[in-house]
Symmetry: none
Subunit: 254 residues, 2 copies
DNA sequence: TATAAACCTTGACGTAGCGTCAATGTAAAT
DNA sequence: ATTTACATTGACGCTACGTCAAGGTTTATA
């Protein structure tokens, strides 16, 4: 079956202008140009457009799409599988947003307090996800399937050495915290050392440090069961203790 | 808690440029400007930004967001509820896309045939959903929530007279359709009159008319059980009949 | 306390991805 | 044969920022 511009645009639910634009930028060329000068598209172009729309849906810019699909290594079925992965991830993000709005509604009705940070759960991730979309696939295409850690490292522009330091710091925080919690003194030397190490650890994640953000994160450690569980693995109450230590360290203790 | 531009941008996961741009276009003004000329944002602005991001996530353009949120009838909790509805709908669309990609993968591996039309399931709907986001809520208001009707009317900047005309047209469409469906001829005079009336009715909702959009909406009437039910109230099959009439009217019958 | 680094401002240019329209030729329907 | 619908190229305009320069202010560090 063959399609002219309008037919193809209707089929795909996009504008005729878009079809022509895609020809113009070389991302979707017609199969041929007929004697009248009309663009004629066929089955292969339909399939290609489908792929383009998946990439577009997942937020990939057109130049990247073009580069990916023009590579000799481009494998259509593999690409489709990757779209699926990304779509599933997008659905997870959407679930976060849905949970966020539900939480916001509930708390607005109750007139209770919601952490500012919580209000952007799902949105914030969008930035990270979009970056992963741009670069994560490139990494996967080059080296095959990797862990999220690998792509996150890329995103953060870390060198291998920096990453080792990052990991070492994390370990040291945990060990220092283990000793500090025994003192039961969040203002003590050990606790404050842990907080200082934590601050340095954050230096790898944040473009800039602020005491408020640090304090906010500490609060989140006790507010979010996932983080609480991470620290309470050392000993129940550690997350709370660490929060106090950080609040003291930042001078923002209430 | 107060935030300067960068702090707020980090909190929300968007750029500082975006924050400034939003101030510039008047969609998110700072709480105050400090003695150095710095923008200072507070709790109310954080909540407002959250709402903006929800609207943005759902594809609403900034001018529309501004208009909606500056309306005296704007109800924060109600808006959040609507975001939730839309996010759930978006998730459905995503499920369609996921199913589409899975079907595509399966059929590519089997080397079997997939209808061209099927390949765009989920994408096509995106256009329709976006139109619904802008205008379809008004349609939905007709069938359900009267309180939302009031705020939507304001949004559309309708006069009382215009609203009466809008309502009268709606009634006339239904009556014409009732008579037309008895003829069982979607190309007939009555059916085409109904389609023409529908076009005029859409003139109150849409900034611009296009045959494709009209046809798309007609398709939606049979695809979406809510709309189908509205027309099938006249007589079962009316929605399908009206779709055919509109497709003929717009010349986009397949 | 001085200095460097980080952050703020305004102003301005540029871009991706189209939407819209004009002018003109072609295909399909009447 | 005529009208309507669809095609083309060319070109301007728009939304929503991204980027950068120049210069002032705040924060961290030595």
């Amino acid at each position: 079956m063959e399609y002219t511009v309008q037919k193809l645009s209707q089929l795909a639910g996009i504008s005729a202008r878009t079809i022509r634009y895609y020809d113009e930028i070389g991302i979707l060329k017609p199969a041929r140009i007929n004697s009248s000068g009309y663009r004629i598209y066929g089955r292969a172009e339909v399939d290609r457009l489908q792929q383009i729309l998946f990439y577009r849906e997942l937020g990939v810019d057109l130049q990247s799409i073009k580069k990916i699909m023009s590579s000799p290594a481009f494998d259509e079925v593999k690409a489709l599988s990757e779209h699926r992965e990304q779509l599933l991830a997008r659905r997870k993000q959407l679930d976060l947003l849905i949970r966020n709005v539900e939480k916001t509604i509930a708390q607005r009705k109750k007139g209770s307090i919601m952490m500012d940070k919580e209000k952007f759960e799902g949105f914030k991730r969008k930035l990270i996800e979009e970056n992963e979309q741009k670069y994560g696939q490139e990494i996967r295409a080059k080296y095959g399937e990797k862990t999220v850690e690998e792509s996150n490292r890329k995103f953060m522009s870390m060198t291998v050495e920096q990453h080792a330091e990052f990991t070492r710091l994390e370990k040291e925080i945990k060990e220092t915290l283990r000793a500090a919690v025994q003192t039961n003194d969040p203002a003590g030397e050990l606790a404050q050392k842990a907080a200082e190490l934590h601050r340095r650890w954050l230096g790898f994640c944040w473009n800039s440090y602020s005491k408020e953000a640090h304090a906010g994160l500490a609060q989140m450690y006790v507010d979010d069961p996932r983080f609480t569980a991470y620290y309470d693995e050392i000993q129940p109450g550690t997350a709370e203790f660490f929060k106090d230590a950080i609040l003291i360290y930042t001078g923002l203790r209430e």
